[in-house]
């Protein structure tokens, strides 16, 4: 079993909803990220999504776009992101790490070299935003060959047929995008999300994470009631942005914020 599958299985056994933070690697500085990852785990993160900076983040709102720009200004490349994961892995053999980003940096590295390097660095999966299953065949094959999961997005606009098709190629978990929009968009409608998550679960056997629009403990708790994982990104990244001139404070502040989400999710799981 992959590290991601193992983690979800153990959470399920304990009746615990996963908390998945997203941060952009190398934002605001390359040295920030590894301590930040450890702080997030200490605060109750079960899996980490690490954003790979890209010059043209078409599916991201302004907050994550700026994070990408800050990391790129520091020269952070896909190669550097793999180095960050390797450093994290040295002290944390258990927490799964999924890279989230766009295809072109992987195209340049080559699918097979990327998959091999990612596996060697201790990466567990990838979510490549601009690769639908129609275009993902070769990438899936390369990642599978190195024991990596390819995580897919599902959208409010995905038809049942598409959800099934994605279920056939996805592994690890699927990521339901709770709103029509980019990352950091308006808040989600919990009832609508609950209905969609039920539909997805009836169509495919993988754990379902819900992201986009989760801003605070309250939305996290409401999503925890219906999903297997709560994914929070822009709310973290905007706090990181505010601490741009005092990056040494970032792990502590983000850890404290995530801990409040963890408490709310645990309460939802218990109730």
């Amino acid at each position: 079993m992959s590290r991601i599958a193992t983690r979800f299985a153990s959470l399920k056994g304990r009746g615990r909803t996963a908390l998945i933070p997203f941060v952009t690697a190398g934002d605001p500085q390359p040295a920030t990220t590894v301590p930040l990852m450890h702080a997030m785990v200490a605060a109750g993160a079960d899996l980490i999504e690490l954003g790979v900076p890209f010059s043209d983040p078409m599916a991201d709102g302004p907050v994550i776009q700026r994070a990408s720009e800050r990391a790129l200004a520091q020269g952070v490349s896909l190669h550097d992101v793999l180095g960050i994961v390797r450093a994290f892995r040295a002290d944390d053999p258990d927490t799964p790490v999924v890279l989230m980003g766009y295809l072109n940096p992987i195209e340049v590295m080559g699918y097979e070299p990327f998959a091999a390097a990612a596996q060697a660095a201790g990466v567990d999966g990838a979510l490549v935003v601009d690769v639908p299953p129609e275009e993902g065949h070769d990438l899936v094959a390369a990642l599978r060959g190195h024991g990596l999961d390819l995580v897919y997005l599902l959208a409010p606009t995905s038809t049942d047929a598409r959800i099934r098709r994605i279920g056939e190629v996805a592994s690890g978990f699927v990521y339901y995008v709770s709103v029509k929009g980019v990352t950091g968009s308006a808040s989600l409608d919990t009832d609508a999300v609950a209905a969609r998550v039920d539909t997805i679960k009836s169509l495919i056997p993988l754990p379902v994470g819900v992201g986009f629009g989760i801003k605070d403990a309250d939305t996290a708790a409401r999503v925890a009631a219906v999903a297997d994982a709560v994914i929070v990104g822009s709310a973290l990244v905007s706090r990181i942005e505010e601490l741009g001139t005092t990056p040494e404070l970032i792990p502590g502040v983000i850890g404290d914020f995530l801990a409040t989400l963890r408490v709310a999710i645990d309460a939802a799981d218990a109730g």
């Binding site: 890209f54 010059s55 072109n104 940096p105 601009d130 129609e134 275009e135 409010p156 929009g181």
Partner: protein, 424 residues
């Protein structure tokens, strides 16, 4: 034979409808495939949220481009509103000065709004209306596509938002004002390099957010399937007319076609109906900016490599890590780091040749055409003219070159004046 039949055709509106079997270039050329691929290029590289609206668009495009009623409505608009067919013009003095092939100009500059862009926006706006969409968004570089989108939106009473990079807003003020006069909201995009590619990203973000009521009119043959094919089909009216016009005028096909390539829509519109005419050489001209050797240019086919951006695989300008790099061209309409995937395929197959022209060469051609023929060309089109000026002397006086004069230069007065050290 096909050649003789077309020869009989006059340039009447009926000709606009003569699309032949399907909308294709001929019996042997069948790109893209069902999934929008041109060989290894093209495709559908978008976030999941856009898969449904793109499928909806593909279905509508395939249905209406085979619907005689839709095509009749499109042709009537192209005639009465755009002013088609656009003439071909024999640049006699210029050809004589160059001392070689005879140069003809396809006068897309005479279209309503001053460029070829309107051929596509008229078509996509009609499609938007058939699909029941009430809101139009567009990206623009030079502002020509933005103006053409705002124009059709005004005419059909649709809400219109145009995304334009902050850098382009500053260098194309007159077009920004035109768009506002037409009732469009122009959003100045401040992310990334603040040019056309970033405007496209921002338009995609809008579309992801407003997919239910919004139609995204992409202005060139880039983006995810079906855009490269659909925009080509709407622009192919240029080549269909030109083919018949050259046959009627000279009794044979031209020896060479020359068009500038930004995203590649005016070029593919001209080339497509000639693709199976093996004797017709196709030249696509990119912007070499300060020179290919300086790295300050916008010539992915000449100096880039394949990658994935804006929903398709194509040649890109990128760094060693796959980040898209900033481009440079004196003409905002060519300032784009990618290119339509069909051009990538025509390059690899050798059917078309892609070369590049510097800012300085384009500016020189701008002045030459203006003084010699009394036609002020767009700076984009001036790249094609500059290449034709190099090509003509290498050819015989009985040979012909057809240049796509994709737009007029009115929008470029400030830029050209600035290069002369003047402020208007």
């Amino acid at each position: 034979m096909r050649l003789c039949k077309v020869y009989e055709m006059a340039t009447t509106p009926a000709m606009l409808s003569d699309r032949g079997p399907a909308t294709g270039a001929g019996p042997g050329y069948h790109w893209p495939d069902a999934n929008g691929h041109f060989g290894p290029y093209g495709g559908l590289f978008v976030p999941e949220t856009l898969m449904y609206p793109l499928e909806e668009l593909r279905a509508a495009y395939e249905r209406y481009l085979a619907d005689p009623e839709f095509l009749a409505e499109l042709d009537a608009d192209l005639q009465d509103y755009v002013g088609r067919p656009s003439p071909i013009y024999h640049a006699v003095r210029w050809s004589r000065d160059l001392g070689g092939a005879q140069i003809y100009l396809k006068r897309e500059d005479l279209n309503h709004t001053g460029a070829h862009k309107i051929n596509n926006t008229v078509g996509q706006a009609l499609l938007a209306r058939r699909m029941g969409k009430t809101r139009i968004i567009a990206e623009t570089g030079a502002g020509q596509h933005g103006v053409a989108s705002a124009t059709v939106a005004a005419r059909l009473g649709l809400e219109c938002v145009v995304y334009m990079g902050e850098v382009d807003v500053a260098r194309q003020e007159a077009n920004v004002y035109r768009m506002r006069l037409l009732g469009a909201r122009v959003v100045s995009v401040k992310s990334g390099s603040r040019t056309l590619k970033d405007a496209l990203n921002e338009a995609m973000r809008d579309w992801v957010t407003n997919v239910d009521d919004t139609f995204y009119i992409i202005g060139t043959v880039a983006g995810p399937h079906p855009y490269p094919a659909m925009v080509r089909d709407f622009q192919a009216v240029i080549g269909r007319e030109a083919r018949a016009q050259m046959l009627a005028r000279t009794g044979r096909l031209p020896d060479a076609l020359v068009a500038c390539v930004g995203g590649g829509s005016n070029a593919i519109g001209l080339f497509y109906p000639f693709i199976e005419d093996a004797g017709v050489a196709l030249y696509g001209i990119e912007a070499a900016g300060d020179g290919l050797e300086t790295g300050r240019h916008a010539a992915p086919l000449n100096a880039g490599r394949p990658g994935v951006l804006h929903g398709n695989r194509t040649y890109l300008m990128e760094d060693a890590n796959g980040q898209i790099i900033e481009t440079h061209s004196v003409s905002a309409g060519l300032d784009y780091p990618g290119v339509g995937p069909e051009h990538a395929w025509l390059k690899d197959t050798g059917r078309a040749r892609y070369d590049a022209i510097t800012d300085a060469e384009a500016l020189a051609a701008f002045h030459t055409l203006t003084r010699t023929e009394g036609i002020i060309p767009a700076l984009e089109s001036s790249h094609a003219l500059a290449y034709a000026a190099k090509l003509a002397p290498t050819m015989g006086g009985d040979q012909t070159i057809l240049v796509n004069l994709s737009g007029r230069g009115d929008k470029d007065m400030h830029t050209v004046a600035k290069h002369e050290g003047l402020v208007l």
